[in-house]
């Protein structure tokens, strides 16, 4: 059972082996260990790292209500039916007050579940080390288990602890008439991160306006997509009807091909690795700083020492500790 049973290192190795051989329970347990963070998560990283690099990591983001889950459902269902082995990592926010969360993305992923897509829901909080560590670790577990592509669905840039662009090879931004339309997407900084745009709910009034607004903003933008001169394509979908999903799958595959032609894929993955190292570093330094703070008796009467001076003094001690 997740919260009660401490795993040991040999168990991690066994789980990693079983996961590679297709045991989905084992994959699920590894994901739980990654979510917990700490030493066991490091063990999982070591046990899975050498088997990664195959999966195309696709991020799907957009405003709540734009239809991300439905698109994820239709896209992965189509890919599974075409013989691929997609996995989904659906990230939802936790309650900041209680740490609890309602993870509801599976409601709209019945089709995908039915055709064998592996779906895992992940809450943003409650994981030691934070989501910035958990997401790359989870991708690694799914990659090592042979899932490809790995689709990460999140509520959007800036709203969770991890930017999807740090994690994905290809980032899809979903907009829909009335629900996070082009203007809102621009404000939210989504235009800069998109490799591909989807205008969902294309059957509704205003969908063509959204598409035109996007084109216009891309015309004016000085950041024309993430890959050099490549302008993001726009796919119109009605995900509830499955319309436009074939085109989207083609666009996603095309983007991977584009990335693979040059050095861009390697460059992105290197950036991702640096981001992950940075996250680990933040975590280590943050933890050490907390420890130093906890042992320091901050005397309120020592008025001659400003907060900045205290911090410098502690930082010197911290550096001594870390290096010593």
């Amino acid at each position: 059972m997740g919260p009660t049973e401490p795993a040991s290192l040999p168990v991690v190795a066994q789980l990693a082996e079983a996961s590679r051989l297709g045991d989905r329970s084992a994959t699920a347990r590894l994901l739980s260990l990654v979510e917990r963070g700490g030493d066991l998560a490091d063990e999982v990283a070591s046990a899975t790292h050498s088997h990664t690099g195959e999966a195309h990591v696709v991020g799907i983001t957009g405003a709540p209500g734009s239809g991300k889950s439905t698109i994820t459902n239709s896209l992965t269902t189509l890919l599974a039916e075409a013989g691929k082995r997609p996995a989904v990592l659906a990230v939802d926010p936790s309650s900041p007050l209680t740490g609890g969360a309602i993870l509801g993305d599976r409601v709209r992923m019945n089709d995908a579940s039915g055709v064998g897509v592996f779906i895992r829901s992940m809450a943003t909080r409650g994981h030691a080390g934070g989501l910035a560590l958990a997401v790359p670790g989870a991708i690694r577990v799914l990659d090592a288990a042979g899932f490809n592509p790995v689709v990460i669905e999140t509520v959007g840039v800036g709203q969770v602890e991890v930017d999807i662009t740090d994690a994905a090879d290809t980032t899809i931004v979903v907009v829909a008439p009335g629900w996070g339309d082009a203007v809102q997407a621009n404000k939210a900084g989504l235009l800069e991160v998109a490799d591909l745009f989807v205008v969902n709910k294309a059957d509704r009034p205003g969908a063509t306006d959204v598409s035109r607004d996007l084109e216009l903003m891309l015309d004016l933008s000085t950041v024309p997509g993430r890959v050099g001169t490549e302008r993001p394509s726009i796919t119109m979908t009605t995900a509830t009807e499955g319309e436009g999903i074939g085109e989207l799958a083609t666009a996603v595959a095309g983007h991977l091909e584009l990335l693979s032609q040059g050095v861009e894929l390697d460059r992105r993955r290197e950036t991702r690795r640096i981001a992950e190292v940075r996250a680990h570093l933040d975590y280590l330094l943050g933890g050490a700083a907390e420890e130093v703070l906890a042992t320091e008796r901050l005397e309120p009467v020592q008025a001659f020492e400003s907060p900045m001076m205290v911090a410098r003094r502690l930082a010197r001690r911290l550096a001594g500790q870390l290096l010593g």
Partner: protein, 525 residues
């Protein structure tokens, strides 16, 4: 009759007290008839249905013998969802919470030896409502009763399914087209039939407040009006036959205010916004059921008191028809004895309490008039919101509210708030969080439906399938599909032909799904 119009002490009573507008006068806040229950009591309609059609037929006859004046049919979950009893998902649900109907043969058994020209029948069904209406009509006409003589009500209110009860099949727009087809058909051929019972009951049971129940229900009513008018009907050709179905909950005066506000809002909107001129279009008539969700599994006998008070609120609010819940419903389907006690409760109110002697006896009470106004004001705020998100159309506003999960979110929020109040002890529920001495439900006799029912029903379905003309079935389904594809064609005639060929509910629904698609909800927790 005259002696019933004085008090027990012999004080003579007028039919109504107070200043105008009086009952029977626009905007009908005080009631739709001038002398209300003096001229005609409400219909005591008891909901029944379990097991096979033959089982329920026996219960119907028992209810008619004990003085019930209308029949109300509960269908089992597979039927409500438009699936046959042998569908894999039907396992464990056949005949459990209502009667199983797969083909017209089951409908014939259900009403066997009951004079369909002499009773009024209400059928609680939504997604496949048009198909069940077709079956009822075919059974009646085979028994020599012309469709024009049939009286009754089809719930046929699909919009509240997306908002609250979740028994939808197709997406909202084609579903509303089916509702509109039934409205067009009955307006032309079944003058005594109510094609839609716009229902707040389920919205309330799902956890809404009284104001939300009222506002969402009337908005759905406006939506059907807009849809039928868009289909070319004159509003006065069908509005008089739209009826409503409300919940009567425990907050006594708020409920009465809700019923009174409902009449006033409907009359004003129909006259001013939809241009109705026939007085009958302006009069909101409604059925009431006491609040199932207010019944407790703890100390179930206490529910008799709750039901009596809620029923009284319905009567003081001017209901046209009433169902009283059985006190054992929090535990299981109602037993025959509990159902009888529930009916007796209505009879006590009708014949012993004297509340029927004077129309709208609470009219003019400062509190009752104020709460009526306040409930109305709050409902109008909801209409403004829907009008706005619908771009000046309530129908479009309702579609948008469904699509975006707005209705569900509002209801879920209210339900959770109520639960928290009960949990914190802020709100007292007798026997639940206070006065819990003597909590024990083991003494109550419960009705059980056996697994054999399911097996029997599946066997019966297999027999019908093997004996019918399969070419006729296939042909009838082809016509259903062709008619469904053309939005201007009324589907009723092809549905009637299909059920005559003994095509099953599930087969027809699957054929329609091929054209309309299926609905998956936007989850709002």
């Amino acid at each position: 009759m005259d002696d019933s119009h004085s008090t027990l002490s012999g004080i003579p009573l007028l039919p109504v007290y107070g200043e105008g507008p009086l009952p029977g006068e626009y905007p009908y806040t005080r009631g739709v008839h001038a002398d209300m229950y003096r001229s005609r009591l409400w219909t005591m309609r008891m909901f029944a249905g379990f097991g096979t059609a033959t089982d329920t037929n026996g219960r119907f006859k028992e209810l008619l013998r004990s003085g019930s004046t209308g029949l109300s049919t509960a269908f089992d979950m597979p039927t409500l969802m438009g699936r046959d009893s042998d569908h894999p998902w039907s396992l464990g649900e056949v005949g459990r919470a209502g009667v199983a109907v797969d083909t017209v043969e089951d409908m014939a058994d259900l009403f066997s030896d009951i004079d369909l020209g002499g009773v009024s029948t209400s059928m609680t069904i939504n997604g496949p409502a048009a198909i069940l209406l077709a079956m009822y009509m075919v059974v009646a006409e085979q028994g020599g009763v012309d469709r024009s003589r049939l009286a009754g009500t089809l719930q046929n209110d699909i919009l509240k399914e997306y908002q609250a009860q979740k028994e939808y099949i197709f997406p909202p727009r084609p579903s509303v087209r089916l509702v509109t087809d039934v409205i067009r058909f009955t307006a032309a051929e079944m003058p005594r039939w109510n094609p839609v019972s716009v229902s707040g009951y389920h919205i309330r049971e799902a956890g809404s407040t009284a104001v939300q129940e009222l506002a969402f229900t009337l908005a759905n009513g406006f939506a059907y009006i807009e849809s039928a008018v868009a289909a070319g009907l004159n509003v006065d050709a069908f509005a008089p036959r739209l009826s409503f179905f409300f919940n009567s909950h425990v907050d006594f005066f708020e409920e009465i205010g809700k019923f009174r506000a409902a009449r006033r809002i409907w009359a004003r909107w129909l006259r001013d916004r939809y241009g109705a001129v026939d007085e009958r279009s302006l009069k909101l008539r409604f059925h009431t059921q006491t609040a199932g969700v207010s019944l407790t599994a703890q100390q179930p006998d206490t529910n008799i008191a709750r039901v009596a008070l809620q029923a009284l609120a319905g009567v003081l609010g001017g209901t046209q028809s009433l169902h009283t819940d059985s006190h054992d419903e929090a535990l299981a389907l109602p037993s025959e004895e509990a159902a009888r006690t529930a009916l007796r409760t209505q009879q006590v109110i009708a014949h012993e309490t004297g509340v029927t002697a004077v129309a709208d006896p609470l009219g003019g009470s400062a509190y009752v008039e104020w709460i009526t106004d306040e409930v109305e004001r709050r409902a109008e705020e909801v209409f403004s919101h829907l009008d706005e998100i619908g771009g000046g159309s309530i129908l479009e506003g309702v579609y948008e509210g469904i699509q975006s999960g707005w209705f569900m979110g509002e209801i879920a929020e209210s339900a959770y708030r109520f639960e928290r109040e009960v949990n914190s002890g802020e709100r007292i529920m007798v026997g639940v969080n206070a006065f819990t001495e003597g909590n024990d439900s083991s003494g109550t006799e419960l009705l059980r439906v056996s697994q054999e029912t399911e097996d029997d029903q599946c066997a019966r379905l297999a027999t019908v399938r093997s004996e019918r003309d399969s070419e006729a079935v296939a042909g009838s389904l082809g016509r259903v599909v062709a008619d469904a594809t053309d939005p201007d064609v009324n589907l009723m005639p092809s549905l009637i032909a299909a059920v005559e060929a003994r095509t099953t509910v599930g087969e027809i629904v699957e054929a329609l799904e091929g054209v309309f698609g299926s609905y998956v909800e936007t989850a709002v927790v």
